[in-house]
């Protein structure tokens, strides 16, 4: 297993963790009657996401944002690995992505401006550099 694949697997596990981090308080706040139902906004007076507490809503946005980051990282990592282009540089990019994404969560939850944006940018830049390295 290349270091990039290890980082990708950990990033996927991080997303599992983020889902739990959001889902537990969301269920406590909204009640299982709402969360287990079909969630029709017209029957609940708005979307479920709009009824979350500010902190849980932040966790929800952080989770949604990570899906976007994860799909780009998946492409970068699998192509780098399959085409045998793994280098110290691409491995470093993958680990930096993971670290930035871990930092991103508390920055979002605690409203640490501008560090949330900085963490997002570091993760995004690491992925883009990997994509470019694989294409070259």
């Amino acid at each position: 297993m290349t270091p990039e694949l290890t980082a990708l697997t950990l990033a996927a596990l991080l997303q599992v963790f983020q889902v739990c981090l959001m889902a537990v308080p969301a269920n406590l706040e909204l009640g299982t009657k709402k969360t287990l139902g079909p969630r029709d906004p017209e029957a609940l007076g708005g979307t479920l996401a709009s009824q979350l507490s500010p902190r849980t809503a932040r966790l929800h946005r952080a989770m949604n944002n990570h899906f976007e980051g994860l799909i780009l990282l998946t492409i970068a990592v699998t192509v780098v690995t399959l085409s045998g282009q793994s280098t110290a540089f691409t491995a470093a990019c993958a680990w930096i992505y993971l670290a930035a994404r871990v930092v991103y969560i508390p920055c979002y939850v605690f409203g640490l401006s501008p560090w949330r944006s900085v963490a997002w940018f570091v993760g995004f830049a690491a992925t883009t550099l990997m994509l470019i390295a694989a294409v070259l």
Binding site: S50, P54, A57, R58, R61, F67, E68, I71, L72, T74, I75, A76, T78, V79, L82, S83, Y108, V109, G111, S113, P114, R116, S117, F124, T127, T128, L131, I132, A134, V135
Partner: protein
């Protein structure tokens, strides 16, 4: 580079990254820096061109999630053929056109290239099976 499914997948990833940069940069014109760097508790929606870019990116995440499995399977199993390369090329071309078609409100074309890309995805799954 365009004769290899994995490279095509990479180019699509890069294309999406470019649009993401354009959208994020464009947000500076619609929102103040304080809001952008905050945790954005107040839900402000993107307007006009930026909203269309946002929706195009969301749709691309789905397309990317769908096209990645067959391309990886074809690459890992060494099943690359002229057909699979062509399907991947058509996918990339259609999804590339999708962005300007969405951004510049070219009704009809956007839906057409979306459909072409979807058919290319199904074809890749068929070839990968």
């Amino acid at each position: 580079m365009l004769n290899d499914e994995l490279s095509i997948l990479l180019l699509y990833g890069l294309l999406m990254a470019v649009v993401l940069v354009l959208k994020t940069t464009g947000m500076l014109t619609q929102f103040d820096m304080g809001y952008l760097l905050s945790s954005r508790d107040e839900n402000r929606s993107l307007e006009g061109m930026l909203g269309r870019m946002d929706r195009a990116i969301n749709n691309s995440v789905i397309a990317m999630a769908l096209v990645t499995p067959p391309i990886l399977v074809i690459a890992i199993r060494d099943q690359s053929s002229a057909h699979s390369i062509l399907a991947a090329q058509i996918f990339l071309a259609a999804r590339t056109i999708y962005f300007p078609a969405y951004m510049f409100r070219i009704t009809g074309l956007r839906t057409l290239v979306w459909l072409i890309a979807l058919i290319a995805i199904f074809f890749l799954y068929f070839l990968a099976l």
